[in-house]
């Protein structure tokens, strides 16, 4: 079981929830793939149709920026916390 934390702007695509649980673990890719099954509109705001993380979306696995620990292949063990945050961008 993995916990996924969502920022305010994305909670509307998760039924208002700021915290979701996903019943798989292994890698960030596996977790996000599973998330897309239940919450497809949410998932495509995190990754594009190629499956790539959107440029200005940051994902942390137990506090580590996934881009520093393997990107979508970052290990996500059972019990981990995945946090999605918009990066500082825009005007």
């Amino acid at each position: 079981m993995v916990t996924v934390l969502l920022p305010g702007p994305l909670r509307g695509e998760a039924g208002g929830a700021g915290r979701l649980t996903v019943a798989v673990a292994g890698s960030l890719r596996v977790v996000l793939d599973e998330l897309a099954v239940s919450w497809p509109r949410l998932a495509r705001r995190i990754r594009d149709e190629r499956g790539e993380l959107r440029r200005y979306v940051n994902v942390y696995v137990d506090g580590e920026d996934c881009r520093h620990v393997g990107g979508l292949e970052a290990p996500v063990p059972d019990g981990a916390e995945v946090q999605v945050l918009p990066s500082v961008a825009g005007g």
Partner: protein, 361 residues
């Protein structure tokens, strides 16, 4: 009868409604806050008008939503409405244009995108499929990107022949199909590309906007990255109609339903001077298919004016007499209810206006 004016901005969609003959407007919004709404359409081919909006979040990407209650609620499908198939290796940056097809195809909606591609919906604009004929065109790898990105920003279905569609892209120019999108050919003969070593190429022009004449569907008008042109053969060949304008640079060009040969532009001084000539806020109208032009300024700002009007930030409506609308990058929207003779402010202090569309609803 009400008039609806949809205003896409850099930070959401605003909807202005007038119930008194376009004298006063009530503005609501923003819908889709903090997204750039580059494309909006009012589809009146169905019994209940459908609004379509293409929005892009700089964080969370692009999407398309529809509303069948004039914006009171919006629907977005579970699956991505516009997405590139996996084998293309591409991903959608932005929807630049949403265009309902002719009345003989009431469920067909076209979407022009960045990167340059055309998508077709057969369910009224809910879900779209890539038009392979244009994507697989051998010219595609030579299509370039302007400052705004590389996009199909204009889609012009033929009003009575579903097989004919004209698109325009920056850069790349005009392409047209006569077989419903299976094959495409460039249609840029006569359009100058002063920024290329060969100034008269087969393709590669930076066409900013193309519009179809209200009376003759074979007659098209193009505002170019320098150059204003008319085609009388459905977009195969073009001739300049810039004489009489203070400048041949600008972005939008619109025609007026019910008024053949009538077209409006908002000239800017030059590529390197993107404000109106002399800083005078002026719309120019031709009522003779570009043979002569008349400046229109009654009710527009008289003080020195610096904003530009983007390619989709000018439109007309389908009322009688016709309405004309423009939105500025400084967030002001002006409307004319008398075919451009006089103008009044609809809204001010909005985010930068990216697109406007209006219709009686």
């Amino acid at each position: 009868m009400s008039t609806l004016l949809a205003i896409g901005t850099g930070k959401g969609l605003f909807l202005a409604t007038s119930t008194d003959g376009r004298r006063n407007w009530q503005v609501s919004g923003p819908h889709f806050p903090m997204t750039g709404v580059y494309a909006v359409a009012i589809d009146k081919r169905r019994s209940t008008p459908r609004l379509l909006a293409g929005m892009t979040s700089s964080h969370f990407g692009p999407s398309v939503a529809t509303s069948d209650d004039l914006g009171a609620s919006w629907q977005e499908p579970e699956q991505p409405p516009v997405a590139f198939p996996a084998d293309t290796g591409a991903s959608l940056d932005r929807v630049w244009q949403l265009t309902p097809a002719g009345p003989d195809q009431p469920d067909v909606v076209w979407a022009g995108t960045q990167p340059s591609a055309l998508f077709r919906s057969d369910d009224g604009g809910v879900s779209y499929q890539l038009v392979r004929g244009l994507w697989d065109h051998p010219h595609r790898e030579q299509w370039g990107a302007g400052f705004g990105g590389q996009a199909v920003h204009t889609v012009l279905p033929h009003p009575s022949d579903a097989d004919q569609v004209v698109v325009a892209m920056s850069t790349g120019g005009v392409y047209r199909t006569d077989d419903g999108g299976q094959t495409w050919a460039p249609g840029n003969t006569g359009i100058r590309a002063y920024f290329l070593p060969d100034e008269w190429p087969e393709f590669g022009q930076c066409v900013h906007k193309v519009v179809r004449d209200a009376g003759d569907p074979e007659r098209l008008y193009a505002q170019n990255h320098h150059g204003v042109y008319r085609s009388d053969d459905g977009g195969h060949t073009w001739a300049s109609i810039a004489e009489g304008l203070p400048s041949d640079f600008g972005f939008p060009i619109v025609s007026l339903p019910g008024r053949p040969d009538t077209v409006f532009t908002f000239p800017l001084a030059a590529d390197g001077e993107r404000w109106p000539v002399g800083h005078h806020c002026r719309v120019y109208r031709s009522a003779d298919a570009g043979q002569s032009w008349q400046p229109l300024s009654a009710g527009l700002p008289e003080a020195p004016f610096y904003p530009s009007v983007l390619r989709d930030a000018m439109c007309t409506d389908d009322a009688e007499p016709g309405g004309v609308y423009l939105g500025t990058r400084s967030g002001e929207v002006y409307a004319s209810r008398d075919e451009g003779e006089s103008w009044a402010l609809v809204a001010a202090h909005l985010p930068d206006v990216l697109c406007v569309r209006a219709a009686e609803v």
